[in-house]
Structures are given as C-alpha cells and as structure tokens.
C-alpha cells in the first residue's frame, strides 16, 4: 500500500502538522573564574550532558587562547566550539597583522562584538574570559549570550551558578562580613574553587566527573585536573 494513502486512512481528518527544529541544546556544566592580584584562575567541570543522560565525562569547557588568556564557555557545546574556533582564528589574523598576541582586554571586546553580531540567532553560550591584563593583574570578563560584558573580580556561570555565586560573594568579596578586605593568595583561591565545585557537584546533577583548573600567571598557563563525584 502506498504509505501516503495509509496515512490518510489512519488519520481521516487532516490537521496541519508543524515540523520544527529546535536549534539549541543545553549541555550543562558549570564554570568559574577568579581574578587575583597577579594571577587568574579559570575552572570548569568536564561533564557534558543532554537531559538526564551523560554524553561524556571528559569534555573540557576551557580553552587556552594565549599565554595570558583562557576562555571558558558553558551552554550549547556546539555553539561554544564554533565560537572558540572563530576567536582563535581572529586572534591568528590579528597576530599576523600586528605582530603581537592580542591582549586580554582586546580579546574581551572582540568577543563582545562577535556575540552581538549574532544578536538575532545567538550563540547559546555563557562565556567567561580570564587572564592577565596589560599591567599583569588578574582580569575576569563575563558575558551574556548576546555580548553584554563587564570586567569583574569573580564570577561563575552555568547550571550551578546560582549555587556557587553567593559563596564566591561571601568568600572572595567578603560580602556580609566584617573581615578586612585583602588580596587573596593563589592557594586560598584554589581551595575556594575546589570547595565550590565539590559543593556544586553534590547538589547539581549536571556538574561532576572532573574539574579542570587553568591557573594563569606571568609564567604562563598551568592546568590542574582533579576528580569530582561521578554520580
């Protein structure tokens, strides 16, 4: 039997059927970045999920763009991958044209422009750019999916951002505390980062597996990897 006739027999009344393609997928995960006096820490978990399934336990969300800049992106992994590629290509063009590596602030502005260029079909990516500025101080730039950006001293993004951000406010910015504000040393910041992720892993299903921490100092970029709970 011809299938189209079969369809008409099965459904004698014809109704308009809308076929849609939803272009966005949320691959989950959490990222954070903290700017120190002369260092910057960019950390992200490595779990990639889709709904209740885990696609992979190790898909890094952070990419080293240069010795001074690391970008981390959460959201739709396809969009994050393409965006990263475009940034790296633009940085290479810049290097050939100007004979030097793009500074963190320059990458920051360029990323904002790139994101806004797709204002009406956005990259579903929550970006955090971490690095050292021209004075060697730590810098963190945070973005929304269409390019609104701001330099901050600490920020987290992704599925567990609402869990971790208040903790960072309390421990890095000393909010609601009478403690004298002071510059935090690297080991203290790393401990806070690891604690944030272990806490987030407990309560957020999309966060876990492994944690990759990029530490940017004047000596370059060092990568640390640690285990998180895999359940």
């Amino acid at each position: 039997m011809n299938s189209i006739y079969q369809a008409a027999i099965d459904h004698p009344v014809s109704v308009p059927i809308e076929h849609r393609f939803d272009p966005y997928v949320d691959n989950g995960g959490t990222l954070l970045s903290i700017a120190g006096e002369d260092f910057c820490v960019v950390a992200a978990d490595t779990r990639q999920s889709e709904g209740y399934s885990i696609n992979s336990r190790y898909v890094p969300k952070s990419v080293k763009l240069s010795d001074k800049t690391v970008i981390s992106m959460g959201g739709c992994y396809a969009d994050c991958l393409t965006l990263t590629k475009r940034i790296q290509q633009s940085m290479e063009w810049y290097h050939h044209a100007h004979g030097k590596t793009m500074s963190t602030a320059a990458v920051a502005q360029m990323l904002s422009i790139m994101l806004y260029q797709k204002r009406f079909f956005p990259f579903y990516s929550w970006c955090i750019l971490g690095g050292l500025d021209e004075e060697g101080k730590g810098a963190v730039y945070t973005y929304d999916p269409v390019g609104s950006y701001e330099r901050e001293s600490c920020r987290c993004a992704g599925s567990a951002s609402s869990l971790i951000q208040p903790f960072l406010d309390n421990q890095i910015m000393f909010k609601n505390q009478e403690t004298l504000k002071k510059n935090l040393p690297l080991d203290h910041v790393l401990r806070i980062t690891k604690d944030s992720f272990t806490s987030a892993t407990e309560r957020d299903i999309y966060t876990g597996d492994y944690l990759e921490i990029f530490v940017i100092t004047k000596n370059g970029v060092e990568i640390q990897k640690m285990d998180l709970k895999k359940d």
């Binding site: 609402s162 869990l163 971790i164 951000q165 903790f167 909010k175 609601n176 309560r203």
Partner: protein, 201 residues
C-alpha cells in the same frame, strides 16, 4: 510560589538546631512589607518555617497552631518534631489536587533534646535531612551556601554565624528575598532569636 518571595533555611548543630528566614513580602517586583517573618514557634522546642505564597503561609501557620493546640489537649504532652513533620505532611497531602503553595521546614529538639530538621514539598513529601534543609525562592543559592559552609557538630554560637552567612549571602542573589533576616537558635535550655540587618534591597 514566586509571587511573594521568601527564603527559609534550617541547620543541625551540636545539641542544637537553627532556623532562619528573610523578612520580605512582595507582590512580584514590588516590596510591600519588610517585617513578614516566615518562622513560627509551635512548641517550646520546635519551630516551623513556611516560605511560599503569603496567604497560604498565614493560613497554614494558624492551622498548625490549631492542630498543635488540639494535640496538646488530647495527648496532654507537647508534640514531638518528628510527629509534627508527619502532621504537616498529612495536612498538605489532604490538598493533593489543589495544594497549599508552601514548602515548609520543621526544626526542633525532641524530648531527649536530640536535634531534628526536615522539609517537605508542597504536597507533603518529607525530606529527613541530617545536615541542613532549604526552601523558598532562594533554595538554589541556599543549597550552594549551606553545602560549602556547613560542617557537623557546630556549637550554637558557631551555628548562628554559619546559618546567618548562608542566608544573607544567598538572599543577596535573589531579588524576591531579603530585606532583613531573623535567625532562631534552639538549644535545650533556651531559644535565642536575633534579627539581622542585611542589604535593604
């Protein structure tokens, strides 16, 4: 549940429990009161926290006061926290198909002064936790704060600091909660309630 806003958290310490709530009452974006507390004392050693739709908060606070008073008259003893938790659960499940829009938290000491906390969802499923429970519009932020700040066997003074920091920093990241906080520490000999001044926005 996100019409009036609110946050409640309870934690277990060493021979003590703490319960805390914010004081905001709003109608979506507009704040209309900064003295709307969401914790209520039901017995000399038990408190109940009721975040959610404000009208249901008030109604259920009165319903539980009535039920607990009747329990005391009939049983000639105070209600235990664990029993109160089940009472809350049944009261909510009675309205399974038209629920009360609250997610209560129970905190108290039983007759042997052992700490007890639990929370329920809006239709009465009890979550018996050993460490902390959170509820309200700020629950995600509170989960993050409590998971990092809590440790077992905190003394009453330390528990007060921990729960206060957890609540204050969490509500600062939620526009529907805040405008001050009230923290209650329940110990075998006394109950101390303190009001915190936080960011007034």
């Amino acid at each position: 549940m996100e019409y009036n806003g609110g946050a409640v958290v309870a934690m277990v310490g060493k021979n003590c429990v703490a319960i805390a709530c914010d004081k905001r009452l709003g109608v979506q974006a507009m704040t209309i009161s900064t003295e709307f507390k969401k914790t209520f004392q039901v017995t000399p050693k038990t408190y109940i926290g009721l975040p959610g739709l404000a009208t249901d908060v008030q109604t259920l606070a009165e319903k539980f006061r009535f039920k607990v008073n009747m329990y005391k008259l009939k049983e000639e003893r105070e209600i235990e926290p664990r029993t109160l938790a089940h009472l809350v659960s049944s009261t909510l499940y009675e309205r399974r198909w038209g629920p009360w829009f609250v997610e209560p938290v129970v905190a108290g000491l039983d007759k042997e002064n052992r700490p007890f906390i639990c929370s329920t969802d809006l239709i009465g499923c009890i979550n018996f936790a050993k460490d902390f429970v959170v509820s309200g519009t700020t629950s995600n932020q509170l989960y993050g704060m409590c998971e990092s700040l809590w440790e077992p066997d905190l003394e009453p003074e330390d528990l007060f600091e921990t729960i206060s920091q957890a609540l204050m920093n969490a509500v600062d990241r939620d526009c529907l909660s805040g405008w001050g906080a009230e923290v209650t520490i329940i110990t075998p000999d006394k109950i101390i309630t303190r009001t915190l001044k936080s960011r007034q926005d």
